[in-house]
């Protein structure tokens, strides 16, 4: 009789364990599918300082994220070979122009290959990036060699990748892949301190 009770308890414990494992698995799948759909994992980044960086623009001028302290900043990683980036960029241009007066700026960071050891190739690569910038009429600073700061920004496994920084330099949202202009605007408002 006593042994039966032990076995019964063990079975109950195992069933509880299976239910718990199923729940954990479901949560992991849900989180993964949400991120794949471009939804921000806001809790993972919210409130953390945006990783500092200094990169060059196409003219060779050094630009730092710290230069924009006091402004809300959208850090947008893109590449010339990324078609979804080309779809998203006109929205960024419009939103930048719409919210610039409120203290908002976009930093477009190209992750196109940069071959610093070969001046001829480097010139061609910069020309390719410049063509994209002209075609898209990007009015905001465009920096190059984004791969060099990729790790602190999560490795940049997909493009476009955007990070929304508030006026104090803290991350308030991130976005992997293209969602919609409305979604980006909502995050810009959050970075500006609007609700």
């Amino acid at each position: 009789m006593k042994r039966n009770a032990v076995v019964f308890t063990a079975v109950l414990l195992i069933l509880a364990f299976v239910a718990w494992a199923g729940w954990v698995n479901f949560k992991a799948r849900f989180k993964s599918s949400s991120q794949a759909a471009g939804q921000p994992s806001a809790s993972a980044v919210q409130g953390k300082p945006a990783p500092a960086f200094t990169l060059e623009d196409l003219s060779g001028k050094k630009v730092s994220l710290a230069d924009y302290r006091g402004k809300a900043v959208l850090i947008n990683f893109w590449a010339t070979w990324c078609t979804p980036c080309a779809i998203e960029t006109p929205w960024l241009v419009e939103l930048r122009n719409q919210y610039a007066a409120q203290g908002f700026e976009v930093l477009g960071i190209s992750v196109d290959d940069i071959d610093r050891g070969d001046p001829v190739k480097l010139k061609e690569e910069k020309q390719g990036i410049a063509r994209f910038v002209r075609k898209m009429q990007m009015p905001y600073p465009v920096l190059i060699d984004g791969d060099s700061i990729g790790q602190p920004y999560g490795g940049l496994d997909v493009l476009p990748s955007s990070f929304f920084v508030d006026r104090n330099g803290n991350l308030v949202a991130e976005q992997m892949g293209v969602t919609s202009k409305e979604d980006i605007e909502a995050k810009i408002k959050r970075a500006l301190g609007e609700r």
Partner: protein
């Protein structure tokens, strides 16, 4: 006594089932991340080919693209897009005389139906014209591609295409 034995068997069975369920859950997650991030394109076959030594021979190289992804064809429509290209490094004992790629399928992104792309999805075959010297050559050929989903792209990647080429 018999009931107790049955109970123990049941406990063991349930433990095995729960362990299997957990393992399945973990494998599914690993598969998904592997498919979308680390293995967008996989080389299928052949692993070994025999060619007449010193003479060109055609070899069909089969690749598979992970579901939900597409890669640019060998002739993308925009200059900026990265074409899929196959190559064999020099000094392999096998020379690539040329490669014939399948035509790309027309593809539009749901976000921007006006933009037409030329892409590969699913499985595709590159016909490679190779010349092997006599002997066994473990060739580490390369396929360079750039993969995207509907709303995002991954950085360009070069995978190794391992083929045992026998020149006879």
């Amino acid at each position: 006594m018999i009931a107790a034995k049955k109970g123990i068997r049941m406990t063991v069975a349930l433990a095995l089932i729960s362990a299997a369920a957990l393992a399945q859950g973990q494998r599914s997650l690993a598969d998904r991340s592997g498919r979308s991030a680390s293995k967008p394109v996989e080389y299928l076959y052949p692993e070994q080919v025999t060619l007449p030594a010193g003479k060109p021979g055609m070899v069909g190289l089969h690749f598979r693209i992970a579901p939900g992804l597409h890669i640019n064809s060998h002739t993308p429509r925009e200059e900026e897009l990265i074409p899929t290209t196959f190559s064999i490094p020099e000094g392999s004992g096998v020379r690539l005389e040329g490669a014939s790629y399948p035509p790309g399928a027309e593809f539009t992104l749901p976000l921007e139906p006006k933009t037409k792309l030329s892409v590969y999805t699913g499985e595709f075959v590159v016909q490679a014209r190779m010349v092997a010297t006599a002997g066994n050559h473990l060739v580490e050929a390369r396929l360079r591609y750039q993969a995207c989903e509907n709303n995002s792209c991954m950085p360009p990647k070069t995978i190794t295409v391992a083929i045992d080429v026998i020149g006879k």
